[in-house]
Amino acid sequence: MMQILMFYPSAVIAVITTLMVIFSKNPVYAVLYLIMSLFAVSMVFWSLGSPFLAMVEIIIYAGAIMVLFLFVVMMLNLGQRRVDEDLRPPSGKALILPGIFATILLVQTIACLMAGHPQGGTQLLNDPVALGHAMYEKHYLGVKLAAIILLIGSIGGMHLGRAASFPDTKEKDLL
């Protein structure tokens, strides 16, 4: 019963907020709606019986990757009009939909934190220790590949960021 209460509202919230990401004009609002969508998907993870992945989704996806997006949106110059827009207090109508969604997600998060592991169901795979054992015993090659991917990503990001911090120099001078 609780899983049904967790799954279907968060599924609806995930679809609607993802549509808002696609159709929003301001990139900042798009990133915030995407954070809300990832939150809803993490509640879906919890209702599917993996509370560890739900928390990983919130911490890494919504907490780290989306904040990276937010930093870049703030670094790009969005123009004077956006600055003027942001100085106005938020109007009442603009707060209704995000307010309802955020309240539902907050209640769901508190409920899943209080409940701990999801109860009932046929397949329960909610043990992080068993997950870690399976990952490092069966899929250790994948762990190494993930490490290499992260290394390549950081090297590429540093190289491109170094080129971005010297805009006047030519490409061959940086190499």
Binding site: I4, G49, A134, L150
Partner: protein, 101 residues
């Protein structure tokens, strides 16, 4: 107990929204966000498959999706900064049509 197939349907819906975003939006930031949506939908499909088959493999592959998404975002956003410095816009149509000097 919810049927895990409903989660697969949700993952399909989210993936289709991501595809629409990649095709329809012209701003590079929105395209990168849509790619994130698609990766997240693929991860949701993995977790749903893990619940259907009763093994940890799907959850492990979701954990492997995370560094891929992080690396993609790091490189993609660095490229976005470079493009913005060069062309003063993130509109992909404008960037694609502007001639190399």
């Amino acid at each position: 107990m919810i049927p895990a197939y409903h989660a697969l349907i949700l993952s399909g819906i989210l993936f289709c929204i991501g595809i629409v975003g990649v095709i329809a939006r012209r701003n590079l930031l929105f395209v990168l966000m849509s790619i994130e949506i698609m990766m997240n939908a693929a991860g949701l499909a993995f977790v749903a498959g893990s619940a259907i088959h009763g093994s940890y493999d799907g959850q492990i592959f979701f954990i492997f999706i995370l560094p891929v998404a992080a690396a993609e975002v790091a490189i993609g956003l660095a490229l976005a900064l470079l493009l913005y410095q060069k062309y003063k816009t993130l509109d992909l149509w404008v960037i694609a049509r502007s001639k190399e000097e």
